[in-house]
Every structure is written in structure tokens, then in C-alpha cells.
Amino acid sequence: MKMIMAVIQPHRLDAVRDALEAINVHGLTASEVKGFGQQRGHKEIYRGAEYQINYVPKVKLEIVVADDILDDAVDAIQQAARQGRVGDGKIFVWDVETTIRIRTGESGEGAV
């Protein structure tokens, strides 16, 4: 099993979910987060004064998938979230030791 963590533009969330459901990934956790990367932030102007907005709103996704569909899932996220601009986000992948379904107690890939 693999954990996919992706940080994406907030308005791409629904497109990413649709792309994942199309390859039978049913389930993700999304959080509203703020951060900065190459995009750095932006300026806003109120009453003639410039304010530097240092942290940009993003959505962070956490998705656990079986090993055999990892590549498809990463491709789906990358294509659905991509707009070709700085600030599109990043995808990180790491190993997951196990998964346990709280309702039944079953564990392993079947619990994902």
C-alpha cells in the first residue's frame, strides 16, 4: 500500500476527485491548508496600501491505494490538477505499513 499526499489548487479538487473515481479509487481525505512554494504569495491592495499575502490557500489530499494502481492514481491526480502554471502543486508518495478498518477490525489492502 502507498500513501499519496498531494497539494493542489483548491479549485481543482472536484476534477481530481472525478479522475480518481474514474479509475475506481473511492475515498480521499481533503484539508484546506496554506503554504508557499515557488508561487511565493501575492500582493493585495486596500485603500492604496500594498499588503503581501505570504501564504497561499491550497487543498491537501491524502489517499491510500493498493500498490498496483499507484501509477494510475498518480497520473490521474497529476493530469487533473495540472494547469501548466507555477502553483499547480506537488505529489508525494510513501509506503504504508498497514490499514485497519475501524468498523470491522479487518486489516491490510482489503481495508483500504
Binding site: 486596500y46 485603500r47 492604496g48 499588503y51 499575502i53
Partner: protein
């Protein structure tokens, strides 16, 4: 006494209270950080209540009953002797007390914009109570209570001098003596809720119909024209800000737009009983431009943290209207003209004197008030409390739990 006049001023009284509660409260609360929203709303509503008590206790009698050129008398101290048959200015006196009370509420509340996010709550209360008696009440008497400026024929229909110059100038004095917010100007955060600023400004706009048209103290053509020119000026100044921001930054902002609205409203206030529609348009144009550059001058160049631009928008707007109204008073363009025997230049001299002396008195008295408050209560919250936000640090509450 006419029932029509009475019913309109009853209505106007409610409209002017709406300007402070919740209009000004929301206007200011949207402009501060999320951690200071409740403290700003608390300032507005607590000022409303405390000023009401100070007004009925001694403010009204010293402002508006017969006295000398400088201050009124004591005949209505604690409103003694006021009953259902009392009459003043052709209206039930209880109504005059109430209508003028809503002005005594919003004027010190305007100053809140200068000291948000860093002042002690107790200091706000003491400063405003002393300020009402020492600054606002005498100036009301000078201009509206038969005092020396009234005798000279100064024109201030609804409070360009009485409300906006006093509050604007005093606000700057308090801002300077209190010091800037920590991190000002580079590290101050932008308005937390521009939509709330717009809602507040809109309530102020509607309430301002009561403020200006109510100042006719009658249900007549003077009131109707005051309402019309008020609306024309507000609309014009709003568009002026939109155009300036579009030209300067490429994007017209909502916060800028409604700041223009307030600038237009403040500018027309002293003139709304004197000018016609063309004058309303011209003053909106002038007030919009002048206030825009005043904000830039005070905040961005002088680097004085009059946090929500009280002097630049209210004080400068009110003064601009008070001085420029002489240009648009001619009956040929719907104005009322001047008193018999008065010339344009003569009137202009009186207007300058009114603005100048009022500003000077506001500065002197406010310095004294702030010094006394610093001694008795202290002005600033601690740096830790400022970082934490006044909502939790001073009121034990949080505005948003999302």
C-alpha cells in the same frame, strides 16, 4: 408642532442609530483582523450606551439649552423638568434630545477607527466620555446651540464641522499618542472581511438619509433635497474611487469603492441643506478625489497609523464639504444662497474660521484627555495581548469558530 415633522424625526432618529449599530460596527469590524472583530463591535456598542448616559446626564443641556456664546446652560441637567409637553425647535423636546443623542453616539464612535487592535477597552470608554463633554458638546453649542459660530452665520447643516472635523482631527491625535499597531506599516494584515465592510457602509448610507435629511428638523422640501444631494454625492464619490483604483492598480476593489461612498457622504454632510443636485455631484467629485489622496498622504507617506483612515475620510471629507459648499450655494443651481448681506468670500471666511478653531480645540482638548487617560488607566494592551488579539485577550470570546 406638526405631526408630520414629529413622525419624520422619530424615523430619522432610528436611522441615525442604525448608522452606529450595526452600520459603523460592521464597517470597521470588516477592516480589522479576524482576532479583533469582537473588540471593535464592543467599542461601538459600548460607546453607544455610555454616550447616551453622558448625553442625557449633562451633554444635552450643555450643548443645546440657552447659555452663553461658548456653552449651554444647566436647565436640563439629568433632563430635569423634561416631560411630554416640553417643546424644542418646534418638536417634542424628548425627540430633540433623542435625535441629537444619536449624533452624540456616532461622533465618538467614528474615532474607533484610529485606535483599533491595540487600545485598552477601559481607555476607550474614558477617552470617549471625556471627549463628548469637552470637545463634542461645546462645538455643538457653538454651531447648533446658538453659540458664537452660529451667531457669525456658519453653515454646517448636519455636522461637517460638529461631527466630522471634531472626530477626524481628534482621531489622528489619539493615533499618534497611542502609537502604531505592532508591525505597522509593513507587517500589518489586510482587512479580514471586505464583504462586511460593504454591508456596514451600505447601512451607513441608508442611515445617513436620517442624518442629513433629518437635520432639516421638519418634513419638507429642505429635507427632501438634503436626501437627494446626499445620495448623489455618495454615488459620485464611490465612482471616483473606482476610477482612480482602476487607473492606478488595474482593479477596482470593493473596499476602495465603499470607502469612496463614505467620503462622499461625509463631504456632503455640512452642505446638504445649502446646495442643489449639481452641488451634490460637484462635492462628491471633489470629496472623492481629496479623500483618496488624504489616505495616501497620512497612512502611506506620513506613516501615521490612523488605522481605518478616520481623519482622511471623515475629517478631510467634512472639512472639504464645509469649505467648498460656498461655491455651490447659488440659487441658479438649486442652492439656497447665503443669508442676506453675506457674500461668497465673507461666508468662506466664516467657514474657514469654524473649521480652523474647531480643529484647534479638538487637538488641544484631545491631547489633555489622552494624557489623563494614560495616567489613570493606561492606553495600550501588552504586546502579548496585541499578538493574541483583543477578542480573546480582553473579552474572552472568539469571533469565528470554523
Amino acid at each position: 408642532m406638526s405631526a408630520a415633522d414629529t413622525s419624520w424625526i422619530l424615523t430619522a432618529t432610528a436611522l441615525v442609530l442604525l448608522m452606529t449599530l450595526p452600520g459603523l460596527g460592521l464597517f470597521y469590524a470588516g477592516l480589522v483582523q479576524a482576532k479583533n472583530v469582537l473588540s471593535v463591535l464592543m467599542h461601538c456598542i459600548a460607546i453607544a450606551c455610555l454616550m447616551s448616559l453622558v448625553w442625557v446626564g449633562g451633554g444635552y443641556t450643555l450643548a443645546l439649552t440657552a447659555g452663553n456664546d461658548w456653552i449651554g446652560g444647566f436647565s436640563r441637567i439629568f433632563l430635569l423638568g423634561l416631560d411630554r409637553d416640553s417643546v424644542a425647535s418646534g418638536l417634542p423636546e424628548a425627540l430633540v434630545v433623542s435625535f441629537q443623542m444619536t449624533f452624540a453616539i456616532i461622533t465618538p464612535a467614528l474615532m474607533v477607527g484610529a485606535f483599533v487592535e491595540r487600545i485598552r477597552f477601559g481607555a476607550v470608554m474614558l477617552i470617549c466620555a471625556l471627549w463628548l463633554i469637552l470637545v463634542y458638546v461645546p462645538v455643538v453649542h457653538w454651531v447648533w446651540g446658538g453659540g458664537w459660530l452660529a451667531k457669525m452665520g456658519v453653515i454646517d447643516f448636519a455636522g461637517g464641522i460638529v461631527v466630522h472635523v471634531t472626530a477626524g482631527v481628534s482621531a489622528l491625535v489619539i493615533a499618534v499618542m497611542l502609537g502604531a499597531r505592532s508591525g505597522f506599516p509593513e507587517k500589518v494584515l489586510p482587512p479580514h472581511a471586505p464583504w462586511m465592510v460593504m454591508v456596514g457602509a451600505s447601512l451607513l448610507w441608508v442611515g445617513w438619509f436620517g442624518f442629513n435629511a433629518g437635520s432639516a428638523l421638519a418634513a419638507n422640501g429642505n429635507a427632501a433635497m438634503a436626501m437627494l444631494v446626499t445620495h448623489i454625492s455618495a454615488s459620485t464619490a464611490s465612482i471616483v474611487w473606482l476610477v482612480i483604483e482602476k487607473l492606478k492598480f488595474g482593479k477596482p476593489s470593493l473596499v476602495g469603492f465603499v470607502t469612496g461612498t463614505i467620503a462622499g457622504l461625509a463631504t456632503i454632510t455640512p452642505a446638504s441643506g445649502t446646495v442643489g443636485p449639481l452641488g451634490g455631484f460637484a462635492l462628491g467629485l471633489l470629496g472623492g478625489v481629496v479623500c483618496y489622496f488624504a489616505v495616501d498622504l497620512i497612512k502611506n507617506r506620513w506613516k501615521i497609523d490612523d488605522s481605518l483612515d478616520v481623519l482622511a475620510v471623515h475629517g478631510v471629507g467634512g472639512a472639504t464639504g464645509t469649505l467648498a459648499l460656498v461655491l455651490f450655494a447659488a440659487p441658479a443651481i438649486g442652492g439656497t444662497g447665503f443669508a442676506e448681506g453675506q457674500t461668497l468670500l465673507g461666508q468662506f471666511g466664516v467657514q474657514i474660521l469654524g473649521v480652523g478653531v474647531t480643529a484647534l480645540w479638538s487637538i488641544i482638548a484631545t491631547i489633555a484627555i489622552v494624557l489623563v487617560t494614560r495616567r489613570l488607566i493606561g492606553l495600550r494592551v501588552t504586546p502579548d495581548e496585541e499578538t493574541q488579539g483583543l477578542d480573546y485577550a480582553h473579552h474572552g470570546e472568539t469571533a469565528y469558530r470554523l
